[in-house]
Point group: C2
Chain length 336, copies 2
């Protein structure tokens, strides 16, 4: 499945052939990420903004673009002179390919198929074996849970501080689970959707709040209000950062993990008057990715409740549509 | 000198009488702060934004408003049953008054005269004696230098990191001096004004740059480019935070000490893509204020170059005008 002319198209291409350092795998499951929905709508803007920051222009929008970066796979064939897990092994990997020119993204790529494909190439040195007979559908959530783990690490939150997670989409839910794993208490989670609030409770929130009924910060005040607060912005739409800055208590930290692709308006005076701190988080480090897989396999992170649907490749465009309605779904897996 | 009907007016009022816990002082010198210019123009907005954050509405714009919060004074009279430095002592103080209702600002106040007055009341427990026979004109810079010291502390910068100070008004120059005091190297300072760049060098910048000729971050790259960078935004006009976010290197920190009173536009994607951290700083702690006075008195901070003018009370409105043209001045002292 590729992006072609701004839409999603399923087509046939030749199987890729593993070179030195690569393995050919069969995709068992691949999660659909909000970033993919963002990219479909704002891809050119993302690349342009990257260009403004001096990043190279890596995607050609006139060619097919592969996506799918939350995958678990079965090894089919190992490239020449390459040591890797033997065929039949179930693996996952950070969505990156090591090349002699450096590291390339395995998603948003014109040349390398991603997880929305029956076959893809992975980099042998990056493979992680899925342990404990873990369901590959659960192993596919290694990547999004690593995003939550990284956001929590990056926030610098420590025991004795309180957390408020604003937005309980897959990223917010991963943050809730990672906070619970760190032993943070209380974890207050806010979302307009009752279904997502319910999932937040299942993933470990001590209290959930409907921000239409009660301001999220007020809910923290009600259940705690004493511990230093770390706020996680996991919505990613314009106006959210400013609203959090307005409502945040003095001396609090805001971790922005929601990806807002549009220009946004803030009121610097809110930050100055309360000496706020804003940290932005992106992706994860290799040890956080490996730790995510280990925590899932050990049963410390139960990701099963997050999987709310499954489709084959032909079902991907419909799944993208469905994910635009947050009440229905958390994570939809593609099983090619 | 008060704000009356949105303008600056010099008028006579009765001398204040020191109560228990207070001293009556004669103002020897009081610096004009950019915040005063901000307040004259945006005072109602500042109070309204404070209200949005749940802060009480403390200033009545229908009454006269006193200002002046960077002062050195001579003690004239000690209130009843109050222990304090004896009359004739030269003192400074944080611009705050302890009352039975709590702490009140000594500036932007309808009732208590500030440093733009011949006489004012200070809180005896907050007095700091100006040591070493230090010129009271220099002691008046304790407050603005404390702002720089606090911004540097709040940034968390440590030896081995590089600093880029954007904007060399009094706040930026205080930051440069405080960075030098902390042993940070290199300190790169950017300002459009040649006069202010020259002052930045005098205050301790290792390199100065005209951002119209070379992007400020490029200047850091040219002189260092390896150490982790901490950027200080000391301009405080809309668009600066976004420009710094766009140009900042990956993983850098931005300390916002410039007070932008207007809504501002940022591009969250710049923060996310480079995992930036933004910290806002306001004012200082008591130990930072006392440390500032000590460093000035010990000769570690030479503030003399910052004093570019002196006026009496009748000269204040003209000085406010003059400070709107950054090429002319850094700090103008009022000597009532």
């Amino acid at each position: 499945m590729v992006i072609r002319d701004g839409g999603l198209v399923v087509d046939d291409v030749a199987d890729p052939v593993p070179a030195f350092g690569q393995v050919l795998v069969r995709t068992l499951a691949c999660g659909i990420c909000g970033s993919d929905l963002h990219f479909l709508r704002h891809g050119q803007t993302m690349v342009d903004l990257g260009g403004d920051m001096g990043m190279p222009d890596v995607v050609d929008f006139d060619r097919d673009i592969y996506m799918g970066h939350e995958f678990a796979c079965e090894v089919l064939e190992v490239g020449p002179d390459t040591s890797a897990m033997k065929p039949g092994s179930v693996v996952t990997s950070m969505p990156a390919m090591l090349t002699l020119d450096g590291v390339t993204n395995l998603a948003y790529n014109n040349d390398l198929p991603g997880g929305y494909s029956e076959r893809m190439l992975l980099s042998a040195p990056l493979l992680l074996e899925v342990p404990n007979g873990l369901d590959p559908r659960h192993a596919a959530l290694t990547e999004p849970m690593a995003v939550g783990i990284h956001a929590v690490h990056r926030s610098g939150i420590v025991a004795g501080e309180a957390a408020l997670v604003i937005g309980c989409g897959p990223v917010g839910l991963a943050v809730v689970a990672a906070l619970r794993l760190e032993g943070i208490e209380p974890i207050v989670a806010a979302d307009l959707s009752p279904r997502r609030r319910e999932l937040a409770r299942v993933m470990g929130a001590h209290e959930v709040v409907d921000p239409a009924a009660e301001p999220a910060v007020e809910a923290w005040r009600r259940v705690d209000g004493r511990r230093r607060l770390v706020l996680f912005e996991a919505v990613g739409v314009p106006g959210m950062i400013d609203a959090v800055m307005r409502d945040a208590p003095r001396d609090s930290r805001l971790l922005v993990v929601g990806v807002c692709m549009e220009p946004d308006r803030i009121t610097p005076f809110f930050g100055i008057g309360k000496e706020l701190e804003i940290r932005f988080a992106l992706a994860y480090a290799p040890d956080e990715f490996a730790g995510s897989l280990r925590s899932i396999a050990e049963g410390e992170l139960d990701v099963a409740p997050l999987i709310t649907g499954s489709v084959d490749l032909d079902g991907v465009p419909g799944a993208f549509e469905a994910l635009a309605h947050p009440d229905e779904h958390a994570k939809i897996l593609v099983e090619p």
